[in-house]
């Protein structure tokens, strides 16, 4: 499941009430969700205000980046399904600085049908969760040794070593 801040949502905040005297009943809200903001503005005690005191200032839409962040669940579903392919040895998942999820599957003795099965699972993930993925499929016997972790935010999902006897 993707969490997303859409451009449409972001630019929907086009007006704000800017007044030193805001109607007592008005709650400051964010259009990003339905949760109320952290505080509710109230006039100082003893003062009365009306809607006429509020000045509405339109703001032009501001371009904001659209962020896609694949939830770990999407990766875990992929890994679970991948584990059913007998030649798969392990999968390494890393999140790059750019927010791209880098997923490398290691397998031994893969047939072309095994490879196509892996690509099919990758395609399912992309279709369901968006394009923020960079997939790789490598032969464990050629990669050798144990995958090395890289600095940064990342996580591994490994259920066997690269050595075929470890599975």
């Amino acid at each position: 499941m993707l969490t997303q801040t859409s451009l449409a949502e972001a630019v929907s905040v086009q007006t704000v009430v800017t007044s030193q005297r805001r109607p007592a009943s008005q709650t400051v809200r964010s259009s990003f969700d339905e949760e109320p903001a952290l505080h509710e503005w109230r006039p100082p005690a003893g003062e009365e205000v009306s809607d006429d005191d509020a000045e509405v200032v339109p703001l032009p839409p501001q371009p904001l980046p659209v962020l896609y962040k694949p939830a770990p669940q999407s990766v875990m579903e992929f890994v679970k399904r991948l584990a059913e392919i007998g030649t798969v040895k392990c999968v390494v998942v890393e999140e790059t600085d750019m927010g791209v999820i880098h997923i490398t599957t290691f397998a031994t003795g893969m047939s072309d049908s095994d490879r196509d099965a892996v690509y099919e699972l990758e395609a399912d993930v992309i279709e369901q969760h968006g394009s923020a993925f960079d997939f790789h499929l490598r032969r464990a016997e050629e990669a050798g040794a144990t995958p090395a972790m890289i600095p940064g935010r990342h996580f591994f999902a490994i259920w066997g070593g690269l050595d075929a006897s470890d599975r």
């Binding site: 690509y119 395609a123 279709e127």
Partner: protein
Amino acid sequence: MPATDDHLAVARHNEEFAKLLIAEYQDRYADWATTALFYAAVHYGRALLAHRGCPTITSHLTFGAEFLVHTRNKRLYSMYRYMKDESERARYDCSTHTAVEVQRLETSRLSHFRDAVLHLISVTEKKG
């Protein structure tokens, strides 16, 4: 931003380079021939996306995923991924490729990928 024809020209260029390497050197530079075939596929894919007016893809990392999102064609995605992995085997895992393997890659993957992309482009042109 390169246009459809620009990408097609580079794709053919890369394809010719792969064939030249195999014809002249057989196994010797089969690794680079493999990579040249992969980059031919990349440009065929980009040609299709450019033809469809898709946004410029600024990151090579997610090209495969973007290609699938825009084409919704798992078969083409699978062909692309196969060629990408073969190219990475040659470049990063020191895998030894042969001329026979390169020719098989061309006939079993790239040629189908190329023909499908060109067909999709021509179909759209006829409709336009």
